[in-house]
Amino acid sequence: MKSRWLALLLFGLVACQASESSSGIRLPMGFIPNIQFAPFYVALERGYFSEEGIELEFDYSFETDGVKLVGAGELPFSLVSGEQVLLARAQELPVVYVMAWWQDYPIAVAAPVGSGIETPQDLAGIQIGIPGTFGASYVGLRALLYSAGLTEEDITLDSIGFNQVESLISGRQQAVVVYVNNEPLQLNASGSPVNVIRVADYVDLASNGLLASESILAEDPDMVRGMIRATLRGIRDTIEDPEAAFEISKQYIEGLDQLSPADQDLQRAVLAESIKFWKTDRPGYSDPQAWENMQTVLLEMGLLAKPMDLAAAFTNEFLP
C-alpha cells in the first residue's frame, strides 16, 4: 500500500515537471505583476516572442531565486538588477548580463518637501528608512552616500521593510529609500510631496536588464538574439504608445482594470516615469563604465572581496 502511494507521489512530481518543461520558457521577473513589465506583456501579446520561436511564461518569484535558477542552468533567462550579476559571479554562478533595459539606476532617496533634504550631502545626520540592508535599495543608497563622501556611519539607517510610504507620512523616518518610478508618485498623490534625490544624477550604475546562463549563450546563441530582439520590440512599442501598452497590461495584471480611475491614473504615471528610464539611442547597450562604477561601489561596501573580470560579466555581442 505504501509503495503504491510513493509511486503515485513520484508520478505526480514527474507529471508536474513534464508539464512545466513542455510549456516553454519561464522568465523570472523578480517582482509581482506590475505595470513596469508592460514591454514584456506587449511583446507577448503581439506575438514578438512567438515569431522568435519562444513560448514565454512569466514567473514572479524573487530576483535572487531567478538568478540561482539561471546559474544552475535550469532556466535560460532572468530579469535582474546590475549588482546581482557581480554578486552572483563572485559566488561562481555562470551568468552573463546580455541586454540593458533600464538605462539609469532607479533608486533614490525621498524626503518631504520643506525638510531641507535635497542633495546627497544633506543626508548626513538624518534617519533614513530602507526596505533592508541588501539588494538594489541598499546598493543605491551606499552609492549615493559614496558620491557625497559619506558613509553609513554618517546616517541612522532603519530597516523598515517595504513600508516606505507609510513610514514617511507618519513621520517615523526623515527620509526613505525608494524606486523613482513608484513611491514618490504614491507620496505625491497622497498629498505628501517629496524631494527626490536620484542615484542616477550622481553616479552611473549598471541597472536592470536581461541575464542569461553561460550555457545558453554557448549552446543556442540564436535563441538569445531572438529573446533580445523580441524584448526590444516590446520596449519600443511601449515607449511609442504607452496607452496601448497600459490596455494590454490589464490582461496580465490581475485587478488593474478594477482600480478606480484615480488609481489607474497613478499606474499610468508609474509607467510614464518608468519609460523615461528606458529611452536611449542604443537600445540594450551596456556601458562598461557603469559596470566599473558598480564594482567600485560593491568593493567599497565590502560585498565584493576583490575586483573581477568585468568583461565576462556582461556582453553587447547579442544585440541586434
Binding site: 535572487t64 540561482k68 546559474g71 544552475a72 552572483a88 563572485a90 533592508g132 541588501f134 521593510g161 513600508n163
Partner: protein, 250 residues
C-alpha cells in the same frame, strides 16, 4: 548504545550528504557540502557576526515567548472558567489563527516601528494560540470530584487555584509551552525577514542576497539549535515541576 544511535544516524547522513555533494559536483550555491557549511560557520564565529545576530534573535524569542505564554495563560484561565467569556471571544480567537502571520507582520512593523518590539509581538502572537488552548484544556480537565473534595475542606478560591488547578493544569500547559517554544523562533524570524538589520532572519536575507548559500545554512542550523535548546529547557522544567507526579506514577 541506544543513546548513541541518533549521533550515528546524523553522522551517516552528513557523510552521505558530503559524498553526494562532492561526487555530483553540485555547485556550492545550490547545495553546499557539510564541510563548506562548517568552514562558513567557523568564519562567522571568528568574526563574531553569528554570536551577535544569534543574541538579537534569542532576546526577541525569549521576550516573545514570555509575553505570549503569560498573556495566553491568563486569558486561557479566564476562558476555561467563564463560559460566557468563552462564547464571546472564542470565535474571534479561532478565526485569528487563520490569518497568515507573514501577512500581518508588515503591518506590525508599521505600527510599532522597525525595532525589536515588532519582532517580539510577532513571536508572542505565534506562541499565543497553542498555550491558550492547552491552558483551557488543562483547567477544564481537572476532575469535578477533586473540586468537591477541596470544597468539603472549605478551601478558598485562591487555595483551589493554587493547590488544585495549577498542579492539575501544569502538565498540559507545559505541553503547549513546548510547542510555543519552537514556534517563537519562527515568529521572530518572520519579523526579521520583513524589516531588520540584525538577527538570524536578517542573516538569511544577507546570505540569499549575496548567493552565499553556506551562510544561509549556518543561520538555519543555528535557528534549529535554538529551537531545540528552548524545547529541551521546557522539557527540563517539566521534569522538575512534575517530579512529584513522576514519583507518584512510579
Amino acid at each position: 548504545m541506544t543513546a548513541l544511535l541518533p549521533l550515528v544516524a546524523i553522522g551517516v547522513a552528513l557523510l552521505f550528504w558530503e559524498g553526494v555533494a562532492r561526487w555530483s559536483e553540485i555547485p556550492l550555491f545550490i547545495l553546499p557540502p557539510p564541510s563548506a557549511i562548517g568552514e562558513r560557520l567557523a568564519r562567522s564565529i571568528a568574526d563574531g557576526s553569528l554570536q551577535r545576530h544569534t543574541l538579537v534573535t534569542l532576546s526577541e524569542v525569549l521576550a516573545g515567548l514570555a509575553l505570549g505564554a503569560v498573556s495566553a495563560s491568563l486569558l486561557g484561565y479566564g476562558l476555561a472558567k467563564s463560559s460566557t467569556l468563552e462564547h464571546a471571544l472564542s470565535p474571534y480567537i479561532v478565526a485569528s489563527q487563520s490569518i497568515p502571520i507573514v501577512a500581518i507582520a508588515p503591518l506590525l512593523v508599521i505600527w510599532f516601528g522597525p525595532g525589536r518590539l515588532s519582532k517580539v509581538l510577532i513571536s508572542a502572537l505565534i506562541v499565543f494560540f497553542p498555550v491558550l488552548i492547552n491552558t483551557i484544556v488543562g483547567v477544564r480537565t481537572v476532575p469535578t470530584e477533586l473540586y468537591d473534595v477541596m470544597r468539603s475542606l472549605r478551601a478558598t478560591k485562591a487555595q483551589i487555584f493554587r493547590k488544585l488547578e495549577v498542579p492539575a493544569a501544569t502538565p498540559v500547559l507545559l505541553g503547549g509551552l513546548k510547542i510555543g517554544a519552537t514556534l517563537s523562533v519562527i515568529g521572530a524570524v518572520v519579523g526579521e525577514f520583513v524589516g531588520s538589520d540584525q538577527g538570524l532572519g536578517f542573516l538569511i536575507n544577507v546570505g540569499n542576497g549575496l548567493y552565499d548559500t553556506p551562510l544561509v545554512f549556518v543561520a538555519v542550523i543555528t535557528l534549529v539549535a535554538m529551537a531545540l535548546v528552548l524545547y529541551g529547557l521546557v522539557a527540563m522544567l517539566e521534569r522538575k515541576v512534575l517530579a512529584w507526579r513522576i514519583v507518584e506514577v512510579g
